[in-house]
């Protein structure tokens, strides 16, 4: 076998004298995909970017050698590296929405590498870009380049970024968490495209690739080899098959045996609901006849018993978070009502009483922005204690200590500014702040989405414990179907703001579903390396028509002449309620 295409040995990247990654060594044969896997802060992106001679935040390659093809990377001048970047080594960033320049047309950005390196004329580059758009299954490949980034969807942008990377036929492509920001359904499409494109790159010879990810299941679909990083060090590296099936390192074993949440004990559906939502419609803009200009939620209804847990799932944009904001009063509903202990909650914040505020607590998705960066943990927790309970001084200090203990936070974080906490700790503080109110209803909005798998699982376990111990009714908003199906008594599936399915846990974990729920479930990657190739390709035809089934344009089971003509009926039975022409048990129109 010929010499490896990429050879990294003894790589150390440091900021000042503090190493970010140290002593990393690996090789990748030409045409193969190496996955770098690890949690955030493990140094996987740092390692990948070092291959381009690029260090973030004032870092530098302190030690080690990097060879890509015949090229020496370390110690090269910026000019020399610029000649390599985008030409021989290309990069696909995590968030295409942020990595595309918002004020320039897509085509100009896609062909820019070819123009910078003067390997094609503008016309040639544009022609090639259109070819790539086509190969990446982008809609209207001839004209999509004329749009601005905000005019195309996230999944399309991610594919457009692949086109940008591949336009110069690079010998190495670095993919940095390219699907992390995407919905599972979109992720499937993008992964399929990437896989095909990488194989076809370099005139069919295939490109060597570094695939950075925290998701082992995704990596299983893409990688030939897997390298596992932990706290800046390489703990295991080997062929994908071996790492996935017979991990040697203890940490890898934890990753592979992904900690699925332990199913919680269901709570009986007895007793008057503590929270009820009836015919809720909400959105933005002027409200005309109870319908806002930009409706986000339509006709949502559910009941939540004391101590119960309701899961709400759906893709981004489905209105999950809006629902939480409406219940919390941040966005007044246009129609319908929210009942707390049987009495209506005023839609507007200004009209709610302190006790109503106290009873319903919202835990925000992103603890980074939900916690005031100017404050210490003590101040953040003391504020609701004073606000709701009038606690100050020693009494408040005692309660703060209790809350820290309750959320399994070490007592010494109390005087730290929140900016100095880890992601998991921040989310616990976020949770503790809500608990300080001693609420009856906890609205958890994607509380784990910004966290690493292991940390997220711990947070979920904590919430589950609290729910049991404190008898909190909990609304779980999440895109993590595994977690929701394990923890919640009931699951509400939203599509485009419309509830398409409401199922008990048993029913949700059963085989029969609304087609959209099926799509969501089948889009979850598994460790099976063949999974990607066997999933169904996505469907998209026409546009959503007001009044008809919202999912119809993407539904694989839609019946022409029925689904695109007659509004879907609401059906009920077997612990489920769903909005579809299909009966869940049979695949024929009822």
């Amino acid at each position: 076998m010929s010499a490896p295409h990429i050879e990294v040995s003894g790589l150390t990247v440091a900021v000042g004298d503090v190493p970010i990654v140290s002593d990393i060594s690996f090789t990748v044969p030409r045409g193969q995909v190496l996955a770098l896997i690890g949690e955030s802060g493990s140094g996987k992106s740092t390692t990948a970017l070092a291959l381009m001679g690029w260090c973030r935040h004032g870092g530098r390659i302190a030690e080690g050698t990097i060879r890509v093809g015949g090229m020496v990377i370390e110690g090269k001048s910026e000019e020399a590296l610029s000649a390599i970047r985008g030409r021989h080594i290309a990069y696909i960033a995590q968030s295409a929405a942020a990595a595309f320049n918002p004020s320039r047309r897509i085509m100009a950005q896609v062909i820019e590498p070819a123009l910078i390196h003067r390997i094609m004329t503008r016309e040639e580059a544009e022609a090639k870009a259109v070819d790539l758009f086509r190969a990446l299954a982008l809609p209207s490949p001839e004209t999509i380049g004329d749009r601005y980034p905000h005019q195309v969807s996230g999944g399309q942008l991610q594919r457009l970024m692949a086109a940008m990377a591949l336009i110069t036929d690079p010998e190495l492509v670095i993919l940095d968490e390219p699907t992390t920001a995407l919905d599972v359904t979109t992720q499937v499409e993008v992964l399929k495209c990437f896989k095909a494109a990488l194989a076809q790159a370099n005139h069919g010879r295939g490109a060597t690739a570094i695939y950075v990810s925290h998701d082992l299941a995704v990596v299983a679909q893409m990688a030939d080899r897997i390298a596992v990083l932990l706290k800046g060090r390489l703990v295991e590296e080997g062929p994908a098959e071996q790492v996935l099936t017979a991990p040697r390192d203890a940490y890898t074993q934890v990753l592979v045996n992904a900690p699925h949440p332990v199913p919680a004990a269901p709570v009986g559906d007895d007793g008057a609901p503590v929270l009820s939502v009836r015919g809720l419609t909400a959105g933005y803009g002027r409200v005309v006849d109870g319908m806002p200009q930009i409706p986000v939620l339509r006709d949502v209804a559910f009941d939540l018993p004391p101590g119960g847990a309701l899961g709400i799932i759906g893709e981004s944009g489905s209105g999950k978070s809006t629902l939480a904001r409406v219940i919390a009063g941040l966005l007044p509903a246009a129609q319908g009502e929210v009942l707390l202990n049987g009495s209506a909650l005023p839609p507007r914040l200004e009209d709610r009483s302190l006790d109503q505020f106290r009873t319903v607590q919202l835990v925000f998705q992103n603890a980074d922005t939900a916690l005031n960066p100017a404050h210490s943990v003590r101040r953040i927790l003391a504020r609701p204690l004073q606000h709701y309970h009038g606690l100050t001084g020693a009494a408040a200090d005692r309660r703060v200590a209790e809350l820290l203990d309750l959320t399994r936070l070490p007592a010494e974080v109390i005087d730290r500014p929140v900016t100095k906490l880890s992601g998991g700790q921040k989310q616990r503080v976020n949770l503790a702040r809500a608990l300080a109110a001693e609420p009856k209803v906890l609205l958890c909005d994607e509380v784990t989405s910004a966290l690493d798998t292991v940390v997220g699982a711990a947070i979920l376990a904590l919430i589950e414990d609290l729910r049991r111990d404190l008898g909190l009714a909990t609304v779980f908003i999440s895109h993590d179907i595994h977690a929701v199906s394990a923890l919640c008594d009931k699951v509400l599936v939203l599509y485009g703001g419309t509830p398409v399915e409401l199922a008990t846990r048993a029913a949700f974990n059963g085989p029969r579903h609304h087609p959209y729920t099926s799509l969501l479930q089948s889009s979850l990657p598994t460790m099976d390396r063949a999974w990607l190739d066997t999933t169904r390709p996505p469907i998209l035809r026409g546009f959503r028509v007001e009044g008809l089934c919202p999912f119809q344009p993407r539904c694989a089971d839609a019946v022409p002449g029925l689904c695109d003509a007659v509004p879907a009926p609401l059906r009920e039975g077997d612990g489920m309620r769903w909005l579809c022409h299909h009966s869940p048990s049979i695949k024929e129109p009822a």
Partner: protein, 324 residues
């Protein structure tokens, strides 16, 4: 594309809203001016007659000027004239205010315009260079230089300029003599020092804002992405960053340039430049209310117009806003 169409459609309501709030602002300005000018001791009649006047003379002139009417009546009178597009008659010069303004407005516009032509590119070059060379000695040197420029009193800058270029080298005139007959090159030569002085006054602030706006964008992922395409930092700044921070830059420039209209009083004084700022000072000292109001209206309109232009540029530079 539909974006362009909807963009146009949303431009009009915005413009109408802006014109509405501009009118409100103008009304507020005229009220404030009228109110604080009312605090001034004496009036136009007294100022015109000077120390020697007898009370009877003052009373007669006051009646002649209509100053014996109560203040609200005078304000209402002025306002109704203004609505009809009549700025009134100067109490002191006995000429229509419009004619006096017409004499000076072109001068001020010329001075402000020429200063902008010089200062804006200079500020952009300074700001962009500093941003590209962020953290290097060039950046620090530009930072220090611009701070020092901000820190020097403008009369000192102007006087030093006169001493060097007029008195010592005799290259440029020490006073600005503008007249309709003078050729463009003469006018330019005559105004060179005022323009240079004003440039020093405004360029530093604009350069600093430019640098800040660019530096703010440099940590964005799209900048890293462009760098990883192999683009040099200068290409990234010019091609990628600049279009994205055009809004704040143009805004900062508009703010600085609005200073050139009414704030140029010191430069106008030193160079004996017949501009609007000294006219307004004159209107204050002679208690010439219609003239004072007219100057205030012009400065306010100029400010509002510049802000509107800045917002329009920001809107047009941002495809996301443009399409809304």
């Amino acid at each position: 594309m539909s974006g362009a169409k909807t963009g146009k459609a949303s431009l009009w309501p915005m413009l109408i809203r802006r014109v509405g709030s501009a009118l409100l602002t103008l009304l507020l300005v005229s009220m404030v001016i009228f109110a604080i000018a009312g605090l001034l001791p004496g009036d136009a009649a007294q100022e015109a007659l000077g120390q020697s006047a007898t009370p009877e003379q003052v009373a007669a002139l006051r009646h002649e000027m209509g100053l014996d009417q109560p203040a609200p009546v005078r304000y209402a009178h002025w306002l109704s004239g203004m609505v009809r597009g009549d700025a009134g008659q100067s109490l002191v010069a006995g000429m229509p205010v419009g004619a006096i303004i017409a004499e000076r407005l072109p001068n001020t516009l010329m001075l402000a315009g020429m200063t902008a032509v010089l200062a804006v590119p200079l500020a952009l070059v300074m700001g962009i260079t500093a941003a590209i060379r962020r953290g290097t000695w060039i950046d620090r040197a530009i930072n220090l230089a611009s701070l020092s420029m901000v820190a020097l009193p403008e009369f000192l800058v102007a006087t030093v300029g006169v001493l060097i270029f007029s008195v010592k080298l005799m290259w440029l005139p020490s006073i600005a003599m503008v007249s309709a007959e003078a050729s463009w090159s003469d006018t330019l030569r005559s105004c060179a020092l005022p323009i240079l002085s004003l440039t020093v006054v405004v360029v530093a602030q604009m350069a600093r804002m430019t640098r800040a706006a660019i530096a703010d964008q440099l940590d964005r992922p799209y900048v890293e992405m462009a760098r990883l395409k192999g683009a040099s930092l200068s290409r990234v700044v010019l091609g990628h960053v600049l279009p994205n921070c055009l809004g704040p830059i143009v805004n900062a420039m508009a703010l600085s340039l609005s200073y050139l209209m009414g704030g140029a009083i010191i430069v106008e004084t030193i160079f004996n430049f017949p501009g609007l700022a000294s006219l307004m000072v004159n209107a204050v000292t002679s208690r010439d209310m219609p003239l004072l109001q007219a100057c205030a209206m012009i400065f306010c309109s100029a400010y509002l117009l510049l802000m509107l232009v800045a917002d329009m540029v920001a809107l047009l530079a941002n495809p996301r806003l443009r399409a809304q």
